[in-house]
Symmetry: C2
DNA sequence: CCGCATTGAGACATCAGTGTCTCATTCGGG
DNA sequence: CCCGAATGAGACACTGATGTCTCAATGCGG
């Protein structure tokens, strides 16, 4: 039952990542169950989306833990973070755009906690002198979300190779497009 | 009439930018006309969205023209471009996410043209030695879209000051978060 | 083998949004 | 001033999705 629920949740995530307007029928079919059973797990579409949000938050926090944001150079922590969060990027992209709809009304405070930890990471990088100080931590956090979503879509549509996902995002976020005097090492 | 249509289109853009699921009623009300009149201008919701897409494409191409992408350093061209496209960023964000739904089926070829010109700009920067070559032009183009959308939302929700929009996007896209040995000039 | 629980299939009512229509009103140019 | 075009208000039918319900079939443990 609990396992079932998790399986349903994950296939729903996979489907809605691709087609964010998918029907309850489609979600049920994707999970290999009937619509009736789907309704037995999740009271309705809202409940499903909220469960997906909880899943996304949980995966984010797991990635935050796995990346050990406090250890070592902030840049390396960012790289570990993106690598850890990559499998959830599609779900994140879905939730990121979905959240643009719930304008104003109380957003899940789980996101706030995650935002805080990301912001703290970027601030740590600034205070250690690794990161420039003219880009606010809030903006860097927002940009990270945006790049994760763009990356997930670009990969989904074949415009970027799946293998390059982490590298492309991390390098752009940290190093930007401009070529610097001291070339950076290419690390896959 | 033609003026009317344009006014309707622009208020629809402004509304849908904020609430992408707004009803035809709401769109009509936002434009200060009745739903009947709205239907006289646009056959249906699809037609409205397609018209908005055309508007977005037109504004993008106008910005591409205004930015004179072929002139001067590619980095400066990017800066001019973002500055020129800033007013349309909200509409772009709407269309960008909207397009994730039209999965596969023929997307407007206007976007292809715009993509090509952006890609060409980044490639020019690479060939002139300004930009690094390990980030593909296709990814830089995608990332630009993502950052424009993130920026528009961040500004809309007050997480980033509207004045910083262009600077934040351009600096992150070109320079990244990492601090370089030779500090860059801050240009507002 | 039996009984209980879960499931799938489908019927059903409901609801929101849409698209079409009518009709009275308003507005502007001739 | 008057006529025609455009508009607003609203009624209407239709569609698609949703949520609820029933019932038969399946399956599993005792």
């Amino acid at each position: 039952m609990a396992l079932d629920r998790d399986h349903v949740l994950r296939s729903a995530a996979a489907l809605l990542t691709r087609k964010s307007t998918a029907t309850m029928d489609e979600v049920a079919k994707a999970a290999g169950i009937s619509r009736a059973t789907l309704h037995r797990h999740f009271a309705g579409r809202d409940a499903l989306v909220r469960a997906l949000e909880a899943l996304g938050i949980a995966e984010c926090e797991a990635a935050l833990e796995a990346a050990r944001l406090d250890e070592g150079p902030a840049a390396e922590a960012v790289r570990r973070l993106v690598r850890a969060i990559e499998p959830a990027a599609g779900l994140l992209a879905f939730l990121y755009t979905e959240n643009q709809l719930f304008e104003g009304d109380g957003q899940n405070q789980g996101w706030t906690r995650i935002d805080d930890r990301l912001t703290a990471l970027f601030r740590r990088g600034q205070e250690s002198g690794e990161f420039r100080i003219d880009l606010t931590p809030a903006w860097l956090t927002e940009a990270l979300y945006g790049l994760l979503a763009s990356g997930a879509w670009a990969v989904a549509e074949g415009r970027v190779a799946a293998n390059d996902f982490t590298y492309m995002i991390v390098e752009l976020l940290l190093g930007g497009a401009r070529r610097t005097d001291t070339p950076r090492r290419k690390e896959s």
